[in-house]
Amino acid sequence: MALAGVTVSIEAVHENQIQEVTLDGQEICVPPLSMSECLAKSAQKIDFAEEDGEEKGKTTSEEETEAQEKESSAFQPSLWPWDSVRNKLKAAYTETGVLLDVLNIAKEKKYMVLAHVQQDTNEPKSALQILAKKKAFGLQSISSGLSTAASVLMGGADRLKKSQQEIGNRQQTEFHFELHNLRQNWRLKKVGNSIIGDLSYRSAGSRFWQGGTFEVTKNTMLPSEQVEGTNTHSALEVVIPSELEGSSYVQVEVKHVSESTGLMHATLKLPNSFGKYPADAHWQTKLEVAQNVLFCKELFSQLAREATQLKSSVPHVVVGNQIFTNIFPSVQLSIILCHATGKGDEKSQPRPPKVEHNHVLEHSLHQLLREVHHKTLHLDPPHPVTATFGMTKRRRLAGPSGMSRADLKEMSESETLLEQIIKQARHEVLRVRTMTTIDRLASTIPDPQIMAHWSCLNSSLQSNVKIIITSNGYDGLRLTWQSLDLEIGTDSIKVVTKDRRILMLSFLEKELEDLIRWQVSQHHISLSQNLARLMGWQILSYNGCSGVGEMEDFATASSIQLVAPNNDRMLSIRSGITSGLHVYLKIDSKDSLDPSLTALVDPKWLNLSGTFKEIDMEQIDGRNFAAKLEFIMAMVKQKR
């Protein structure tokens, strides 16, 4: 570098033009121009009025020449500062020429984009003021020309927009537009002159025989003829096959046979409002309702077919549009297809007594059928792609992985919809029964407290509940809890107690009630046991099934004998399920001692005598048994 000599770089003086000098001497500089601003400014310097007719052609013809022109002409104003004044007469003519040019340039976008100049209108204006004297006329003519051109353009654009909108508005109510909408939601095809649509679930995997074709026609009624107030007028009408008209649903009921005697004629009466929808309803609602009808029909026919095929000890009954099946003795599940044609042929039927419609089961029925649909379509894709198609991945791997016979059998088993819904219904009945039984017992047995903790995660066939039996005020003492876990299945309840005893209960509520009552009686004994231990009393004996005393209706009573720390008081507690709770106290008195035994020295022998007397627990102060017992224990001990 150094050898090459000193390099001298030349650059423009970094100095900005002073726009204004304020009174305090501060100079306000004009900010340096950016490249585009520079171009815009130099463009403005061009006095278009100067150009003559010859140049016009050039400007429009070529961009580059124009640019050159601009550069060369950029200095013209300074060369000919006063010429604009002289050429006033010529100006009017030139102006129109310029306008033409500008319009040409503006119209054909390839020459020039006007946006930049417009953006800088403020800046040029200040420059304009400075240069006003010099070339006010020329610049004004340009700006006015531009603004006229702009307004013309804007006007045109506005008109175009407006007309576009008008077209759109008009089309909205038109047939083709509607058809377009319809096409986006439903399957349509054109057959001959008519348009046929399909609302069946076939494309979603259904294999139901009944088709769901509908026809699309033009609504000939004019909007003006329409009743006012209905702004849902559409230019399109759908014609739905008569068997899919109206609306329907599948009613699922679980009832006790004993309660409703005339079971077979418990045909469904529909609420009058049901099944009717305005005749001029929008096609979308019409189609949706019709599709629902088809779905319900498929669901019902599937269930009916299964009901007739399924072998069970108590056969399922299919009568007309009803399926009856016994899920438990004297508990019946009925599935009824309700289809109201909504044709006004409804006789004023008397409203039936409100039968409880099980929405949950209805919903799961729908879900089950949809699952079937889904499965017919969504097969496991084969990997590698040449592998047999139509098997699940598990089945495909069954051979190579050496799957056992049991697994294969399990895999090939599948349940019908009816079986599944029966199972769900059973579980539902069982769960509700359990719930009411627990609640009833909890409210009727004040002491001890029975608490039920239902788990929040349930499946449709299983739910869990924990029952905890405590005494109020003593629940901090965890040992005295009696707790059990009920797993409610489809036709039985599995009970696990805290000491890991497993009991299987059938669907009868009585069994659960007995179990809880038994646990309650057990709770009393175990509570006394623990209380005694804490109070320093000794446990003499514990009998889980005492044979003496009143007979219980079921199970056995249990009893416990406690002795005070000083061996002179004894408590005997007997807790029976039906006989209730009895507490006996023995206080030995030396006076009542057999005089012949006075010779005995050891005082412990003195304790042999005495009789047990029952304590009236009602009279003892205390909120519940635990408190009363503690009170008795404390009192008896204290007396010493």
């Binding site: 379509l377 990997h383 590698p384 592998a387 047999t388 198609f389």
Partner: protein, 213 residues
């Protein structure tokens, strides 16, 4: 029932299944259009097309001239890597010109991963191998695959691959138990719907081979 049929077939030593096949090809640039069309035509239009990525090895057993050579096709999925699939394809039934599609007997066997070693040890030799990537569609039981074939630069290395051609192989196939003839008609109809994009035809492999040699 299925088992009975199978056992019979196994005892008789005949393949109980027939494959109906139509083939065609499409240039890469139009592949997306085809995939789009197939999504619309096939089941599960709502979900994305199922991609696959397989490694295929072709083994053959050649003995003395008195022995008929035997070729098996082994495919290994590179997506579900525990899936190996061995395929034996019988001779094509050409006798019937009226048939719409190519029909051949085939045996599809799922196998465990020791298969390569097994084949090698009983005398099979690897003829060639390639990697196929593409999309899988189905309509009913019809399988449609659009696959791009890649040649492997190093034997056994499924990652070092180069595309074989600038087009994709399109196959429409159904495997059914012997004696279901109406499938061909369905396939033909389906192929019609893809017509301008891809021409699915029954391809005479034997003639092709002869032409090549």
């Amino acid at each position: 029932m299925y088992m009975d049929q199978l056992n019979q077939a196994v005892k008789g030593g005949i393949a109980p299944f027939h494959e109906y096949l139509l083939q065609g090809s499409i240039v890469d640039s139009s592949k997306d259009v085809l995939v789009h069309r197939l999504r619309g035509l096939c089941d599960n239009a709502d979900s994305n097309p199922e991609a696959f990525h397989d490694h295929e090895m072709i083994f053959s057993l050649k003995g003395s001239p008195q022995q008929q050579p035997m070729t098996v096709y082994l495919r290994h999925s590179l997506i579900q890597t525990d899936c190996w699939h061995l395929r034996y394809v019988g001779s094509t039934e050409f006798g019937d010109k009226t048939r719409q599609t190519l029909v051949r007997s085939c045996v599809d066997i799922g196998v465990s991963d020791s298969i390569v070693k097994f084949l090698n040890e009983i005398g099979f030799k690897l003829e060639y191998e390639f990697v196929a990537k593409g999309y899988f569609f189905h309509k009913g039981r019809m399988k449609v695959t659009v696959s791009k074939l890649f040649k492997m630069n190093i034997q056994g290395d499924v990652n070092n691959i180069d595309p074989l051609t600038l087009s994709c192989l399109v196959e429409l196939s159904v495997v059914v138990p012997t004696g279901q003839e109406q499938v061909g008609e369905d396939m033909k109809n389906f192929a019609e719907q893809l017509k301008p994009l891809v021409q699915l035809e029954k391809v005479d492999h034997r003639r092709q081979q002869q032409a090549a040699t």
